[in-house]
Amino acid sequence: MKRKSIILALLLFLVVAMVGCNNDDEKVTIEFWHNYSASDGQVTVLETLIDEFEEVNPNIEVKHVFMEWGALKSSVVLGADTGVLPDVLRGDIAFVPQFQSLNVLLAMSDFEDYVTQANKVLDSANSSNLMGNKYYGLAANTNTKILFYNEDLLEAASVDVPDTLDELWTAVSSLKSESVIGMVEPWTGIWNVGPYIWSEGGEVLSPDNSTAEGYINSQTVVDVIQSLADLYQAEELAGPSMDPGATGDTDGWASSLYAFELDGPWRATSNEAAGINYGAIPLPEGSEGSISVLGGENFMQFKNSSVEKQEAAWKFVKFMTEEHAQVEMAKVGQMPVNLAALENAEAIEAMPLLPVFQEALLTAKARPVIPEWSQVEDIIATKVAEAITGTKTVQAALDEAAEAIDDLLG
């Protein structure tokens, strides 16, 4: 008897539990991976936004998961094999071609109202989602690099803010002193040297991204890298990737060691935290104008989630790219892509440098959108470092780079 009642109780419990589950089933739960920074308060804003989204869409639940930049990438690489993937992700624009090559991304331009939503965001930012004739993401945030300078150091050495790239190199040289290094360049990839190359009219790859020969090793590029090499060898330019013993850029800014750096919006945040008196302008013009590099993040969706979840995730992406969400994120340092948010007074007040970035964004250039890009950029970073440190002549190093890239793309 006793046993029977226990079984009965168990059965009853199971039924109740299953009914409970059924109720939950009507609610679509989507998983959202991102690398919004917690220290800048972005995660808190995200949580508020998710609450608002869930209020408007009571049948959708968003579970967000924070990951570091590197973890975000390697988790998707692993997930491509194991199937453990999110429904929606917000990550570096450079992830799109690689993830697409893993064949895990959903062609978001297949959503009926994709074009409507895409028209609300910056074209240049959204271009990083285009592969073939489909879009595999929607721009989430954008950024580019502008020239930050330490006003106190410039004033002390009575150096003017430069108007051209040549003036910048001269300014960097004349700032060198016992306790000051004119400029810092944390890496030697295209993210770093691209803007100087493009602004002088050089290119990395051919327009169809098929070859580097005659582009990365052209006279223009050689001249640009030569100017950097001259500065580096005179110890007027520091490069923590070429010399891991050099002071990192954030530490160097905080201790007023570095006077110039071409960097993104985060430099403003860290300089303010360190109490540094700084200014910023778009990259000074080279012979072909001022062309910086396009950065930022995109929303991506995954093709292995169910249709229901894809629809729910798309709703969430649309919500996150509307003016309201974008302005809220701007207040914690994420540069909007939404056109209305870019003009929004609250956003501009929160990001005083927004107009400077917007000006730089007008001409900023995206890095080539090809799956092999990580490897191409690694080759360039290695060879440019060899050229700048003087291990090889600039021409020899860049010729080797062209050959290695062509081997890879061939």
């Binding site: 590197g70 990438k73 390697s74 690489v77 491509a80 094999d81 690689q98 090559s101 893993l102 064949n103 895990v104 990737s241 070429m242 010399d243 891991p244 013993g245 050099a246 002071t247 093709k303 292995n304 990580s374 490897q375 690694d378 290695t382 470092a385 060899e386 440190t389 291990t391």
Partner: protein, 303 residues
Amino acid sequence: MDQVIKLKKKRKLNRADWRTWVIFLPGILFVLLFTIYPILKMFVMSFFDWNIGFQATSPFMGLQNYVDVLTDPIAIRAIINTFVYAIVTVPLQMIIGLAVALLINGIKRLNLFFRLGYYLPVITSWVVVALLFRYIFANSGLMNYFLVDVLGVVEEPVNWLGSRWSALASAMLLGVWKGIGWNMIIFLAALQAVPKNLYEAADIDGASRRQKFFYITLPSIKGTVTFALVMLSIGAFNTYTPIAILTGGNPMHQTEVVLTWMYFQTFEALNMGYSAALSMIVTGLIMLVTVFLFGVTRGKKVA
């Protein structure tokens, strides 16, 4: 004859005792699933241009991945760097660890204090101490301050992390410093197991301290020495954190070790086949080294 009978008995016992197998089974399954299967799978992967991804196809490449690895100057440099790291750090930390163990074994007071002191580096996080070492060996770091400003032995600050061998030397110093404590504990345990009456007999025979060390201590702890040698060698081939944090393989991939380069090829370049081939080559090298080490230490025992 005796031995044969013994063996037969033992086997019979094993077959009868099914409980032994039940107890072993989870362990065996675990090893099969998480060690044997991945090794086999990786072996297979190393012959393909392995593409992960939804419905991805992976063309057969034959030995091309192995050719790619062996003709890649960075891979060769990484393998050489790893060997140098192993050859320097393994004997050094064993010798220092053994010396410390002998000293601690000889003292009665403050025994616990020294044991704790030497063991502390072992329990601290690799990442934390590697970051500390990066600051110590930075151009304007503590080491240069000490050498230039305090001791005055060098005029200009040394660019420790900026070139291949000095950066590796910094990483090796970190490896040795962090490894001493583990060796000390292992050797201390071995030393305490050496029968005291051997030393007493040696004393009666009038043996010197040197003689006691070479004819009693060392032969008695030989098993531990072999164990430490093999474990540390395998560990040295798997070094990752000190390099990743001190230099990240920079400058220009000069300080790359096998694992940092493998990480780049796997997660940055997505060259799964290449990484699998590199893993197989390193696995082969580790096996060769292990067999060699066992051979050397066993050879000594016979002699």
